[in-house]
Subunit: 347 residues, 3 copies
Amino acid sequence: MKTLRELAALLPGAELRNADQADSIQIQSIRPLAYDGKDFLSFVTGKGYVQAGGASKAAALLVTAEFASQLSKPLIVVPVVEAALAQALRVFFPERKPDGQISPHAVVHSSAKVGKNTSLGHFVTVGANSVIGNDCIIEDGVKIGEDVVIGDNARIGMNCTFSYGTRIGKNFTVFGNSTFGGDGFGFYFANGIHNKIPQVGNVLIGDNVEIGANCTVDRGALQDTIVKDGCKFDNMVHIAHNCNVGKNVIIAGQSGLAGSTTLGDNVIVGGATAIADHLIVPDGTIVAGGTLIRNSPKEKGVYAGTEGLSFGDFQKMRANIKHLVGFNKWASRIKALEKKAGITAEE
Amino acid sequence: MKTLRELAALLPGAELRNADQADSIQIQSIRPLAYDGKDFLSFVTGKGYVQAGGASKAAALLVTAEFASQLSKPLIVVPVVEAALAQALRVFFPERKPDGQISPHAVVHSSAKVGKNTSLGHFVTVGANSVIGNDCIIEDGVKIGEDVVIGDNARIGMNCTFSYGTRIGKNFTVFGNSTFGGDGFGFYFANGIHNKIPQVGNVLIGDNVEIGANCTVDRGALQDTIVKDGCKFDNMVHIAHNCNVGKNVIIAGQSGLAGSTTLGDNVIVGGATAIADHLIVPDGTIVAGGTLIRNSPKEKGVYAGTEGLSFGDFQKMRANIKHLVGFNKWASRIKALEKKAGITAEE
Amino acid sequence: MKTLRELAALLPGAELRNADQADSIQIQSIRPLAYDGKDFLSFVTGKGYVQAGGASKAAALLVTAEFASQLSKPLIVVPVVEAALAQALRVFFPERKPDGQISPHAVVHSSAKVGKNTSLGHFVTVGANSVIGNDCIIEDGVKIGEDVVIGDNARIGMNCTFSYGTRIGKNFTVFGNSTFGGDGFGFYFANGIHNKIPQVGNVLIGDNVEIGANCTVDRGALQDTIVKDGCKFDNMVHIAHNCNVGKNVIIAGQSGLAGSTTLGDNVIVGGATAIADHLIVPDGTIVAGGTLIRNSPKEKGVYAGTEGLSFGDFQKMRANIKHLVGFNKWASRIKALEKKAGITAEE
């Protein structure tokens, strides 16, 4: 619990407004605007939330100067609401820190190196020649093969697996049951069967990457599969062999890249989206959720739909759906016109 | 092995018919109608299966009174075929029961509580302050973090993971490699990078829930992610942060809900279906397999297709597909009409 | 490192060409044509790559006789480029072999049998009555339940799980966190809830099967779920209960089969594809990526798109997309024709 004044003092650039009672307003938690409780802080992230902000039971609101004058509640006026929210959440829910404990039930190969202040959970394994950085939390059941490098300050969720040769930068986060470094999917057909092409590349992940639960990143065939700095992937994201994912790429849940596809920097991919193999997606492209991309987009833009249309065309298509659903009526009208015009069309 | 009479006696409300030989008919197993063997029981679940029932090599059939008179085979006439089938299967394949053994290779924190008659497999971990109910089977390799609650009579498949704070009701079943309580996918873009918003909600799962293999249920951002009583999820189902899944919801394989979406009670979601974020799906709605739902359905109904159409419109669309595939011919016909009418249309 | 002559000598049926310097050309690695380095071997797999082959910095190329005369570089002329590539890769990256070590941290039930020269990693479990063949590598954290059979020469990735009764043939490969033998998804609705139908079949996998990371193969309801010899599945592939997958079937990433579906031999399924339940897909059928198959294809063919069209129709549909996106313009043209013709159509 903090007073509103104490909390505001912890947020860079924050100013109190409508807050004469800032020393007596108690903040016990942070909640959505609609929360049915008391003593909580909430937040207004844009014009569309000002009215709900006024009506909220929140004891106080985080808001930018732009909307502050429209609200009579106690306010903490901040430069960026989401940044202040993240900071305020850390006041009430401090980040878990490594305690430097190595479980007696972890097995670390004698040639492996584990950094200072890194925690290894129960039933963790670290294979030969692998190197784990400082200040990491490696949760229970994580399996790290040979010749793996994981940088400082990693947070590795339970039962994740890292096959030999995987290399990961600093500040990596991943949730449970994700798999790194399985073989890429490469076969050739001969003599009536599918024959394996050895997959000898590795997985190379940059700094500040966060990956969700039950994701897979395959090793490359001849070169490495690359995920660059700052990428954030949701759950069940699949990155196939030889992909090259640019900096700060976002990929939402259950989406995947087929082999050898390149995403430029700052691409955003919605959920339940599939991007075919050997494509190049330009920097800054946005792919909506539920999209199928079968060809490389010619230019940066927003793409949507199972035909991978530009967003404008996708909207037009949706506006025309009622016509397409009932196209048989249009067909009848065309036939009636033909009959009246005395045209005999080929069916 | 049971005689037909012995088996019928174990099924509530069952009556033998055409079964003078009920003491000498041996039932060794339960099989589909088309099974090519002998001494097996099969079943007729509706009108469409009566003929196959008559032709089956089954020694006897489970059937309701409605169809019994159409069959001359030995029958066990029952109120609900599926219920009788489930009961009969348990005669031949008794449910596995916990044996109350705690593997010497499990690690249970001194502050955790494990209920009576609960089995913990090898390499299971139970973290600080967690509470596991009575009569549970926790299979090998399951990892349970801190402050987790799992109710009585759970069946937890191998290598599932439960992050801190996850709370699960009674009679929970889950299969291997599912992940509970990974962080929700929440970032804000500032200073050229994606910055994390701490995810401080938990996962809250009701009673009598069954979840498949390799599923993920993320913790909420500020509130809990909720899965209510009686839900059944197939494999690779993804439930994002803040979702609220109503009672008795069915979700088939490889389907997912994006963040903050609410499903009403008794919703049924087919496989390979994606439901976008912040939607509300009414009680009793049915979403067919392979559907994309981008907007909240206005009313209970059946929805289908990548445009999220009502089922009626979806059927119309499919009936019109041949026209849409060959629309260029219709375009030519329209142009021919324009030519004859002396209309010059803008292309 | 090998000389070009040494390397060629290791490849069956290989002949050197343009290779007077074969004893002094050093090959240190194998890379794609576009690789920016030196001392590497590359390969030309078809007409479309001949020009890039000529321009490559590769020290030598693998190529068939068909294209050899168009290239002046040092060549290794081989019968099948991909086969020679696979063999050459194994020269530089020898396959990992089992060392026959059983980790002291593995738990093998006293009634289980582990074959000769098989390696069991740390925190592996093998349940009662299970049988693991010879020459297998069972990586760290794999959990094998009761009555499981795994044939000779398996490669089981970290943290995979095998529930009771699963039977797998020879030369099986699977990558991390895949789950075999979870219950099929079978319920009936009665008394206002979904009631479970016991799933008493097993999982039966043939010889020479490779399965990716984070896949699921469910046990059958009454019969076994079957995956036949020579199948190759990519990551996050889901095979539901009672499916019967023919020989040498390819399924790419994030695709799934709903329950009781049969795929014929040599079927190829692209990524992000869903095939509905109770279908039969003919031998040799190809299903493109991003396809929804809702009905059994009547004949062998190539199918594509969210309407499961024949590939020809799919291509026509795509060619017509511009018309469908802008259908409102066609509607206006039809209305203009009607006006001029004095027809009043029903809207």
